[in-house]
Amino acid sequence: MRKIIAILFVLPFFGVAQNNSGGIHGDFDLSLQTYNEDESIGALAADEVMLNNAYLNLLYTKGKFTVGVRYESYLNALKDFDPRYNGNGIPYRFAQYNNDGLEITAGSFYEQFGSGLILRSYEEKKLGIDNAMDGIRLRYSPISGVYLKTFIGRERKFFEYSNGIVRGADGEININDILKLTTKTKALLGGSVVSRFQNATNPNFNIPENVSAFAGRMNIVSGGLNWYSEYAYKINDPIGSLIENNYASGNAITSNLTYSQKGIGVSLEVHRVDNMVFRADRDAVGKDLLLNYIPAISKQHTYTLVSLYPYATQPNGEAGFQIDLFYKLGKGNSIGGKYGTKIDVNFSRINSLNGGPSYLNDNISHQPMLISMKGEELYYQDFNIEITRKINRKVKIAAVLAKQSYNKDVVQQQTGYGIIESDIAVLDLTYKIKKGHSIRVELQKLKTEQDDGDWSMGLTEYTISPHWFFTIQDMYNWGNQNIDKQLHYINLTAGFIKGGNRFEIGYGKKREGIFCVGGVCKTVPSSNGLTLNISSSF
């Protein structure tokens, strides 16, 4: 069977090899790491001495025809990845053809409906997330302003696929295009449905074999104003045997309103989520086989200590809001300076639903209040200001001040930690030494009475454009109440970039912690060793 598939994918390459007008492109990534034992930080040695993650993506395109494959290799997977990524294989391969506006995909594909409340199949390699679908997808635009999508498939789980079969359809209309309106105000409407079929064999309960979720959305744009809202509903989807009220239905609403003009931008966002874990297998746990994506309604920070306590969405139930203000102080006056000064302010707050979500409750008819903030359990709060300013042709400066409250018990599903209150400050200085040579220094400090106490971090980076970079950084947990844990985590990194190739070598200690991208997080074990990364894009 596999042989047949392989031949089918290779055939077109030969078929067109004569007329020489297609092209092959892709990317490659190899990560190697050694693991030394280090009792002080709790790092364990690896039996294999060295671990490996690698992949190669190849895409061949000719006109309206595209085929692609990804070879993945985990021998064995790096310690911060799920060990179920094991061995070698081609888990991703597809063929796609576009015929008069009808796009046909057979094989693996990634898809998102609306904002992802009921469907987002995507990859985030650094987190080890890849929930590609394997099946058939069609996309069609019969007339300008009407967009239709439909698919059927199984969802990827490491080197296997889900038991459940997933079907979905999505439609979007652009009112202005259809009615040929030329008004300044534009409106888009969309709707989607995703349904999963899975055999139910529970002898005691009549568990639904077909579970559907529905979503509707609208987007109105007028001048600098943009308003997007989406509502989703999931019919009951009990996991395994019945516990508590887990045959409750689920729903989610998200809405954001932004306004911007030259020099200023404002963004307001709210969301409310109740029992919206939706998977391609009702018995799956953790991050396995998730079908939907509800991002964290908080800012994604980049500096290390500001993201030491990162929030992750609680899809079982939460309500939150976020406000952003982006402002540029004008050039050439005493406050804005010669080049202007950028100020970004962000506030976010997320708390529990009133009385808990519909799902985790003994009361069958429990319906949490629509909006309730006062007296609810705080999950996360973050108030932060970031200022960026170019002082002169040689010096740039950036500073961040943040105040965060992080409910460790809820976010990390632990007990006894409570809410970690922290104050964080960051200073980032860039100095251009001479043509092509610059040095950048980061100083960071996090102050908290709880958890591991105070942290400091220093980083120095020397870069030679366009090829070289060298970095040394130290994270120091000087405020830990346990003197034995007042440790330094020193890392050295050097890299070389040329065109599409990138080489990086590093040595040092990594702290145990949470690593997040887009509000989805994974726990990373502490480690001590040498890392090598080679990647190429072509």
């Binding site: 090899a17 992802g116 987002r120 534009k186 911007s260 931008g265 994604q300 952003d324 454009s465």
Partner: protein, 165 residues
């Protein structure tokens, strides 16, 4: 099984090399405008002048540094070479709504598109951002560079000037 996979890859690679002389064009992929409209990236146009495509995100420091630094000299670049910069935001649903307020407040004059589920990113073999591509007047990709450190824009500028000659 192993052997088959290996044979398969060897064939693919061999084919890849036989094609390596072909000019690389933009893929036939749809992205979104800030107004929510669909736009096929292969329809990008700059009337025969060079185009720079830069992949970035609102949460990516070096990306913003690159686009801010170019923003200061962008008018001069345009006057001298007719170049157009197209910034592709890879922000997903979490931060996508902040793209417009961010770029407007930053005074960027670039053409902006959204790629929230990484369709274009994947099609162009972009694994890390920033990743900057330079297209000649025939919309063929003639140069690309990954990452950004202070001063990298000078190399890009030199390449644009070579094309504009």
């Amino acid at each position: 099984m192993r052997k088959q996979i290996l044979t398969f890859l060897v064939v693919l690679l061999a084919t890849a090399f036989s094609f390596s002389q072909n000019p690389r064009k933009l893929p036939n992929i749809e992205v979104k405008t800030l107004q929510g409209d669909a736009f096929n990236i292969s329809e990008l146009n700059n009337d025969g002048s060079p185009i720079v495509i830069s992949f970035w995100a609102t949460w990516c420091k070096p990306c913003k540094k690159e686009l801010n630094n170019i923003s200061e000299v962008y008018e001069d670049w345009q006057e001298e070479t007719g170049v157009k910069l197209v910034a592709i935001s890879t922000d997903d649903t979490r931060s996508m709504s902040k793209v417009a307020p961010y770029i407007n407040s930053s005074d960027w004059e670039y053409e902006i598109y959204l790629d929230p589920n990484a369709d274009l990113k994947r099609a162009m073999g972009v694994s890390t951002i920033p990743h900057t591509f330079l297209l000649n007047g025939k919309k063929e990709i003639v140069w690309h560079h990954r990452g950004y450190v202070e001063g990298d824009e000078e190399e890009l500028y030199n390449k644009i000037v070579e094309l504009a000659k």
